[in-house]
Symmetry: C2
Subunit: 415 residues, 2 copies
């Protein structure tokens, strides 16, 4: 079993050096890591092949296999991703605000790295280079613990990045990999309080749940999205249809895709047949409550489980509600506090929805699919937080930082 | 044993109502709570008497007894504290920034309450009204779990506040008290993930440590302060003496008091005798390393334990260092990341110290005693965070909030 205390100690020592590293140096190292990734395409593909063969032996689905597969184009994309991170402004060192207090002290709130970040994630190997580059840019040391499906791919990717660091006389401990996918090691990582400043799980609902109930280190909960679109009685038919089709079908496997459509009873009979037809192009399975089922030409009855499920698939639960209030109540009861949208021409209905719905992102007249660090303009995304502490919603570089107060005095002591 | 799930459920439901409550209504309720506290002075003093008698039976120290004691003046102060909170600006609803993204979406980052806050604290009953009023002002429901020494005092205080809420038809579940000081209940609170959004421990090092290693709910670590003052070779004697005397003696029991003095070897022989004399007025016990001990007229040898101890008393560890670098290294090794200060006329020495010392607040030429929400100008303080996630340093009202993105579209869907 890997001794995470050793990794932790190495990470902590390196984190201190990283916290003092100038932006220019960090950017040069990032660019070099990107170059080395491309240069080592062959060996990365060879290792990825091992994961693919094993996955096939385990009878993995084609979708999963595709998520796991690396190609030289995909490695190029990963390298480009790292280069993109190098171009982003460095939040570290920025003094958010500075003021003079009553004693004449100049007090500044300065951005500093968090320290050591742990990432527990599943399947997709591109998370490895994404997370590593974002943590590096923000002066944090990172300990990566990927899923067993992508073990060989993740391992070689980290080795290449570490090699690149060593070539430039930087500490390879800035980016470390847990060379062991056992449950015990994962549990140890979740309790590595002496070394980890934060642990970010990225993956499915089960992973998130395990981390939340096990970890004693600070966690940022990410990801699971049971998102809703509510079509109000004052909605426009075309806009409502466009938004729900987009929210459900543009990329159903992601966390900001919609899982449930709520629709006001006054317009259900007019709107639902049009929406059914539009969704039929994507062969969306409809799971409807009684009233919606009576309108649809084809649907199956929704169960209690359906209201709380993130399908991540071409499946949509549909419910007819009596009022805006019922829609809000349903959402606040079943949602995972991710992204929620109302479609309505009515000023007061949209204001009430934006105010009363509890979620990281609440939309009026737009698709839930926009909840994304890049779309929001952050230039990066380490995940989407669905908790309320530290960060909520899409997390960019700033969310990987902390602050310290720097105080300039001229001899003051407290009276 | 108290069933915390019931308290949690009540808190969560009430938190939603509180999140929508207008500032004016919250302020009126706070003022009414303050009035009711004063009006119920007699009954509060009667209950406090029970705690005092029990404390005497247990042979508690006079200092501790004083912290526990309520008087009509102290109750008046508590009420004034609540009135003060009512006058503070309400952070809830504030939109920190709003921008238009490439898709034409107007995206605003709005302050919302955290939800349900748990507070675990020791001894002083004024924490009860302080914490309750700050959480209430920020639209959060709070579950308070005080120490057994102040059980009767805390209980009656919460009952008075709840009574005040009920009189005005507001939910008493906004402020709840764990009517049970057992270890088991405390542990249950630390794992109440379904209901608690954050747990804030306020108390000594042992309490903090227990919470950190036990809790699975998000925690904000507060309080323990092993703070240092470093006197550089280019320091002014009077300024250095004023600052170390203030940092050590003005209020030694608090977390921002200094515990260790580090002094550059070049000025140790000149400065230490003057500092010894100044500290002698407060009968400060000096625990010195070999070089400092050779200069002092009276001191005892410092042990390894002394470097890591928060004395909270008139005791000061003293070490002579070869250089600024050694001072920084010592501080980063032994400190609790709270407050650190350098005294120096040298520009580069102060800049290096501010940059390289890892702590919530780092001072040049000022006493560590300034680390305080009121002194910093926040108008309130719920504690001083020594962790890096969510909040670092003194926490005011803003640190009891989260954010949500409110997004105004006009029919956008993702391409």
């Amino acid at each position: 079993m890997t001794d995470l205390n050793i990794l932790g100690k190495q990470a902590k020592e390196t984190a201190y050096q990283l916290s003092l590293m100038d932006t220019k140096v960090k950017n040069e190292l990032l660019l070099h890591m990107a170059d080395e990734l491309e240069k080592n395409t062959d060996i990365i593909l060879t290792e990825n092949q091992k994961d693919l063969l094993q996955a096939k032996d385990n009878g993995i689905t084609d979708t999963m296999l595709d998520r796991l597969r690396l190609t030289s184009d995909r490695i190029k994309e990963m390298a480009e991703g790292i280069r993109q991170v190098a171009t982003l402004p460095d939040p570290i060192g920025e003094v958010e605000k500075m003021w003079k207090n009553e004693d004449g002290l100049m007090i500044g709130k300065q951005r500093v790295p968090l320290g050591v970040i742990g990432i527990i994630y599943e399947s997709r190997p591109n998370v490895t280079t994404d997370a590593a580059s974002l943590c590096f840019k923000t002066g944090n040391a990172v300990i990566l613990r990927g899923g067993k499906e992508a073990f060989h791919s993740n391992k070689i990717l980290v080795e290449v990045l570490q090699h690149a660091l060593k070539q430039k006389n930087a500490s390879p401990f800035a980016i470390q990999f847990v060379d062991d996918t056992s449950r015990e090691t994962a549990q140890q990582l979740m309790k590595l309080n002496d070394y980890l400043d934060v642990l970010i799980p990225r993956g499915g609902a089960n992973l998130i749940k395990t981390v939340l109930t096990t970890a004693t280190v600070p966690v940022i909960e990410t990801g699971t999205g049971n998102c809703h679109v509510y079509i109000d009685k004052d909605a426009q038919l075309k806009m409502a249809t466009d938004i729900i089709v987009n929210a459900k079908c543009q990329r159903p496997s992601v966390c900001n895709a919609a899982e449930t459509l709520l629709i006001h009873q006054d317009i259900a009979a007019e709107f639902l047949p049009v929406i059914e037809k539009a969704l039929a192009e994507y062969e969306v399975e409809l799971r409807a409550d009684e009233r919606a089922g009576a309108i649809f030409s084809r649907s199956i009855p929704a169960t209690e489980i359906d209201w709380e499920t993130e399908f991540n698939d071409y499946i949509l639960a549909v419910k007819v509600v009596d009022s805006l209030e019922e829609a809000i109540q349903h959402i606040n009861h079943y949602n995972t506090k991710h992204s929620e949208s109302i479609v309505s021409d009515n000023y007061f209905a949209t204001q009430q929805f934006l105010k009363q719905v509890d979620a990281a992102a609440v939309y009026a007249n737009a698709s839930t699919r926009f909840t994304d660090g890049f779309v929001f303009g952050f230039g990066a995304e380490i995940g989407i937080s669905t908790q309320k502490l530290h960060a909520r919603g899409p997390m960019g570089l700033a969310e990987l930082t902390s602050t310290k107060y720097i105080v300039y005095g001229d001899g003051q002591y407290r009276k």
